[in-house]
């Protein structure tokens, strides 16, 4: 009874699987990113999932709430990524209820790393690669600040001091964020929530310009990205109305 939900699940037996020419083109979800703003962390993603040159879906939800104080942004194979998110969601709640305390932030970060490592056979065979971003804040520390972690597909975890991006469109986004971090006035970390929402929208529009796998944001058609905010108090989804208001104000 150690509060480990993952240990209760049967071990995946992926090592015996092999790739085949008859294997359908696997899905990819791109582009997600996170950056620090004045009030916490903004984490955002487009809605597109592709299979090769096919747009499979333009309504994919890639920013997933793991619990009230942590978020995961998924890039890579959605089948694996969604399962990882579901495992973590259940795992964190299971721990909280069985151990009568919240799981520490470090343990949450590590839990995602462990799932990526368990996914190693699929990663090495090329059909289950996931490169997530994790944003979280320590629940029991009143002075804790939200953090951003990014991972390599094998499970290594790295803290992002300012921003992180993943997926095929993240190159453009990271370039812009780097520029703003270095020379921006204000820098993303100094931006208000409204400014950060506008920046996130513009970043995705920029990524969509250069990457076909990134779904576009079209404010004129009320098509926006998924943007969530993580503060000391917990997670908050930015509503469509809020994104539209910020966009209109930025254009005014």
């Amino acid at each position: 009874m150690n509060g480990d939900f993952i240990a209760l699940l049967p071990k995946p037996n992926l090592a015996q699987l092999g790739t085949s020419a008859a294997c359908p083109e696997h899905l990819q979800a791109t582009t997600v990113f996170a950056f620090h703003c004045k009030e916490g962390v903004v984490i955002a993603g487009d809605h597109r999932a592709t299979a090769g040159n096919i747009i499979f879906s333009d309504k994919t939800e890639k920013i997933l709430e793991l619990d009230s104080h942590s978020l995961m942004a998924i890039a890579g194979v959605p089948a694996t990524a969604f399962e990882m998110a579901r495992t973590l969601q259940t795992s964190f709640e299971f721990y909280r209820r069985s151990q009568l305390q919240s799981m520490s932030l470090k343990a949450k970060i590590r839990a995602l790393s462990r799932l990526l490592r368990d996914n190693l056979p699929a990663t090495l065979q090329g059909f289950g690669i996931v490169q997530p971003i994790f944003a979280g804040v320590e629940v029991d520390d009143p002075n804790a600040k939200p953090v951003i972690f990014f991972y390599d597909p094998l499970g290594a975890q790295f803290e992002a001091a300012t921003y992180a991006g993943s997926g095929s469109g993240s190159g453009s986004i990271k370039s812009v964020l780097h520029y703003l971090e270095r020379w921006g006035k204000p820098r993303p970390a100094e931006m208000s929530v409204d400014e950060a929402i506008t920046l996130a929208t513009r970043l995705l529009m920029t990524a969509a310009e250069f990457d076909a796998a990134t779904g576009g944001v079209h404010p004129d058609r009320r098509l926006f990205a998924t943007i969530k905010l993580l503060t000391r108090e917990g997670t908050r989804s930015i509503s469509l109305d809020e994104m539209e208001r910020c966009w209109k104000e930025s254009c005014a």
């Binding site: 009874m1 939900f5 209760l8 009230s68 495992t87 259940t90 709640e93 299971f94 209820r97 069985s98």
Partner: protein, 240 residues
């Protein structure tokens, strides 16, 4: 010795007696279905008696703390596996108790060479409306009963437990606040603890004298947004 049927019956009888004797130090727990949600009330001494099991599920028990923990963990494990493999809506008390917990309890009770599970408990499942709430009284031998009229108690003595429930049903009104319902549960708790007859008991709003004990109150809150509906209430802030 136990190969002979009557010896086995005797052993089971002794075991039942032993468990009831062990439960004697325990104090009652209550659950009431209300328009706001399901209220769970217990009075503990160092150890908790009221717990969250799953998104819409709560548990309150008396008995040996280690055994309460055993049942609590088994319930949490079964509920989370079911919720993960299927969905949160598929986690129901009917399946949780019928197919997992009552079997465990019955087996533990009848395995006369292993230590028994000394627990009397209540499980609660929050519905969309008060009519859909599910309350279950679960006994140490796996026997369980679904309660349809919104009030349930678990106590060491079945007769006194029935009297307490009847008294609560008589005195809890549909528009009572959570504070008043908690107070009525504590009135019943005090009467059971002091072995006072319920026929003479009048509802009292006098402050509850805890004598070093902790009043635990939790609500499976119907209006709480998000999947998790369980929240602990601060007894000191509840107004009767």
């Amino acid at each position: 010795m136990t190969e002979e049927p009557y010896r086995w019956l005797e052993a089971i009888g002794n075991r039942r007696e032993y468990i009831r004797d062990q439960l004697k130090g325990g104090t009652p727990v209550f659950a009431c279905s209300r328009p706001e949600g399901i209220l769970l009330v217990g009075v503990g001494q160092g150890m908790s008696k009221v717990f969250e099991i799953y998104d819409r599920h709560g548990f309150a028990a008396l008995g040996h703390p280690v055994d309460i923990e055993k049942i609590r963990q088994a319930a949490i494990e079964a509920a989370h596996l079911e919720g993960f493999n299927r969905s949160a809506r598929d986690v129901t008390l009917r399946r949780l108790i019928g197919f997992a917990l009552s079997t465990t309890l019955k087996n533990a009770f009848e395995q006369i060479y292993s230590p028994p599970i000394i627990v009397e408990s209540i499980f609660a499942e929050l519905g969309e409306s008060q009519r859909e709430d599910v309350l279950v009284r679960v006994h140490f031998d796996g026997h369980h009963k679904y309660i349809s009229d919104g009030v349930v108690a678990a106590h060491i003595d079945q007769k006194l437990e029935d009297e307490a429930v009847a008294w609560l049903r008589e005195h809890i009104k549909p528009d009572d606040s959570l504070g008043r319902v908690t107070n009525l549960c504590l009135n019943a708790w005090r009467a059971l603890a002091d072995s006072k007859p319920f026929a003479e008991l009048k509802p009292s709003s006098d402050p509850f004298s805890a004598n070093g004990k902790t009043v635990e109150v939790a609500l499976l809150d119907r209006k709480l947004p998000g999947p998790v509906h369980y929240r602990s209430l601060d007894f000191a802030k509840l107004k009767g």
